[in-house]
Amino acid sequence: MPLPPGTDPPLPQPDLLAALPRLRRYARVLTGDVTRADDLVQDTLARAWEKRRLWAAGTDLRAWLFTVMHNVFVNQRALARHERHQVSLDSEEEGGEAWRIPVRSMQYTRMELIELTQHVGRLPVDQREVLLLAVVEEMRYEDIASTLAIPVGTVMSRLSRAREKLRAAFADGPGTPSSLKIVK
């Protein structure tokens, strides 16, 4: 159905561009693959333009784009499930292309970060995305709940479970070298 004129102002493009790096990051955490992540971002942008009247101008565009991306991803995954198209995030030695870790990190060693991202990659996608949104994007739990259309209690329990799994994975602490395979 064509939209009536006047109800679909353009999305603010500078804000869209500014949101792109974060959309790509979210997409990588969801898909675990650089190329598929960018495909997902592209599909998300197309969907966002198509559905732009659903964005309330003046509200947080980034959060709305996360919602759109989450929905596009969930729909695509439902289709792909037919083909048992499973995402493997921890197959490669360094966690695959998506989990490239920059050589220069601020505080932790490259090995520690690789280990961490592998643990993150093994989390169920539901927990992984909540962890990203809460910890890395630093979103309020209430905003995550509305972004993912789940109750706040679910956000918090997924986050707790994700953290508990990370803790268990780093059984003897992330800072202790004994848990790491040091490769020369």
Binding site: P12, Q13, L45, L113, P174
Partner: protein, 271 residues
Amino acid sequence: MNPLPITDTDVSAYVDGQLPAARLSSFEEALANDAALAARVTQLRQHNAMLHDAFDPWLAEPLPDRLIAAASAPEGPAASASAPKRAPRWMLPTAAAAATLVVGIGIGWFGRDALLQRDGTPTTFARQAALTHALYASDVNRPVEIWAAEEKRLVNWLSKRLGFAVRAPDLNTLGFALVGGRLVAGNEMPAALFVYENADKQRMTLQVRRQAHPGGETAFRYAFEDGVGVYYWIEDNCSYALSGNLDRAQLLAIGRVVYGQLAAPEAAPAR
């Protein structure tokens, strides 16, 4: 009244700074008396810091062209059918081209300014500078309209379009060579953008524009917007913004050189 027992959810909320105020004091009391709880908090904070370290650098990666293009309004029957009816008269001639990047940005800036005005955000210029930097500095093949090989033509053209004499500071001593420049949309008037690059292919941009409303001078101010550091200042009714994915100290050092060169016009090579 006995406080409620501390749950995993409380610990999570505490390290995320999202524990409700009503729970905060009883949590902190428990924290002071429970070494195991304190260790758990420390560990979660460490995980938080590691997650940032692991995932934040992705934000600085250059954007692929196809995604930049996808951020523009799509061409199509729906867009072209409704856009002209809604567009103000002055915009009509460009409506057909609304899907192209440059025009799209122009329209976007207007929407953005309305937002900024309403929200009263004071960092308009720094934010714009960061966005402009992110957009053009990441463009490997065409970051500029006129390349440094034609610096004189570039400077003359920009000076003419801006209505005052601009020049590109010489940052070769700092390892940054001029790549070129372009005209970019500002709030109310256009701005000049100079792009520099070092041997590591790191890019830095300097944006210069006349202030729409003459106002005082400012000290160097720093802003960090979406992964881009920006030093900006106002002098002689011109606003300057130096943007780059460089560390703050490095950016400041470059800013001082730029400032020094621009503040000493008599020292500029005669053109």
